[in-house]
Symmetry: C2
Subunit: 231 residues, 2 copies
């Protein structure tokens, strides 16, 4: 029987790359995406195309209501910073931080993994390149994994041991892009911008666009997305 | 400034009792309930009345879609066991177990607590009286708490330390009921049944009804709910 994995898929560079990695490792893939009230909900349409492109076994899209909790520039009435330089992006935890988002996403992934009968969960977190998010660090992932193995019926009964796979955690964005290209990822399908233009193009000015563009530049490739002429 | 606490409120005996305990400890209370596709969604109406009765500062009800994940008799097409005796109820993890439910609930509570600026989260888990759920045990709660303090911006910045309060974890159902009555809880407002009758009365036959009735009996009180004549 093919081994299964749940892949948290946002439609960005990192999650698309881990989907490619999991496929390459021989997993039958179950992609999980969330409508959580994000301003850039266009990413869900991208995630659908990516999931089809990779032939995932199932793509589950859940509507959850993080915007009712708020507290983030991505979900709440807080402006998304534009035009910051890399030093500004690198200092402290940005306002795009969504309270407990990865914990909530991983908790759903845990539930689904238990139901489909696998312990393998992939998440595209990354602790370098200025992400600044506390829930992208190795010590957090290790603590979540430990908790998961105490939380669930299949783990307590000794049938499954949960493992949170983070193949990108120590890579730079440039290294991630190179790895994805080696595996045949089509990055024109992906979306990174926190606040895209009304025509769907990325803004080119938010932290996420800046880090994406820096990654492509350092990797020596041209980002296949079309940006407005403001970079 | 009054200290704040997030209270996970399902509308059952345990969560209503912890709401009373938190109020008694001087907290300004923020109640959090979930429509998660449960068969006994009547509990949400009960939770609303209980929240009003206790004068909570805010009652947030989130619609999440655990029924899309399934895997439980409470959310899926799996019959809820009826008429089991206490020895049967006490053996193993029951089919009413919902994969990762407390982890998902606590993750949302964590997000909300971070946004309102408190580290205090109350959950009515209970490790005795046959609950059998892995995510009700002290070792699980400790692991969640540790993870929470690595996951969040306010914890990592040293502004807030999260604490998961579980004042009922080592009490029997009878002790919980006695404590609640001391604090003036009106248990006629609460709901425990996994599959109530169409008129809203509890079935009297599911594990949850059986444990509730046993609790009242051992506490020396009469359950104020009206049951069909089948006990």
């Amino acid at each position: 029987m093919e081994k299964k994995a749940v892949i948290l898929l946002s439609g960005g560079i990192d999650s698309t790359t881990i989907l490619a990695i999991a496929k390459n490792q021989g997993y039958e893939t179950y992609a999980l995406s969330f409508r959580y009230g994000q301003k850039h909900k266009i990413e869900i349409e991208k995630a659908k195309k990516i999931a089809r492109n990779f032939g995932v076994k199932k793509h589950l899209i859940l509507s959850i209501q993080l915007n009712k909790i708020g507290g983030s520039a991505l979900t709440d009435n807080i402006p998304i910073p534009k035009g910051r330089n890399l030093m500004e992006i690198g200092s402290g935890i940005p306002v795009s931080y969504v309270p407990a988002r990865n914990t909530i996403f991983l908790s759903y992934a845990l539930a689904w993994a238990e139901v489909i009968g696998t312990g393998d969960i992939f998440i595209g977190v990354n602790a370098v390149d200025f992400s600044g998010y506390p829930d992208c660090r190795p010590e957090y992932i290790m603590a979540f994994e430990k908790m998961a193995n105490l939380a669930t019926k299949v783990a307590v009964e000794g049938k499954i041991r949960f493992r949170i796979h983070t193949p990108l955690i120590h890579l730079t964005k440039a290294e991630i892009i190179k790895k994805g290209l080696e595996l045949g990822v089509d990055y024109s399908l992906t979306h990174s911008c926190y606040e895209p233009l009304s025509d769907g193009r990325p803004c080119g000015q938010c932290d996420s666009c800046k880090l994406r563009l820096k990654g492509f530049k350092e990797a020596g490739y041209v980002d296949p997305l079309v940006y407005p002429d403001n970079r």
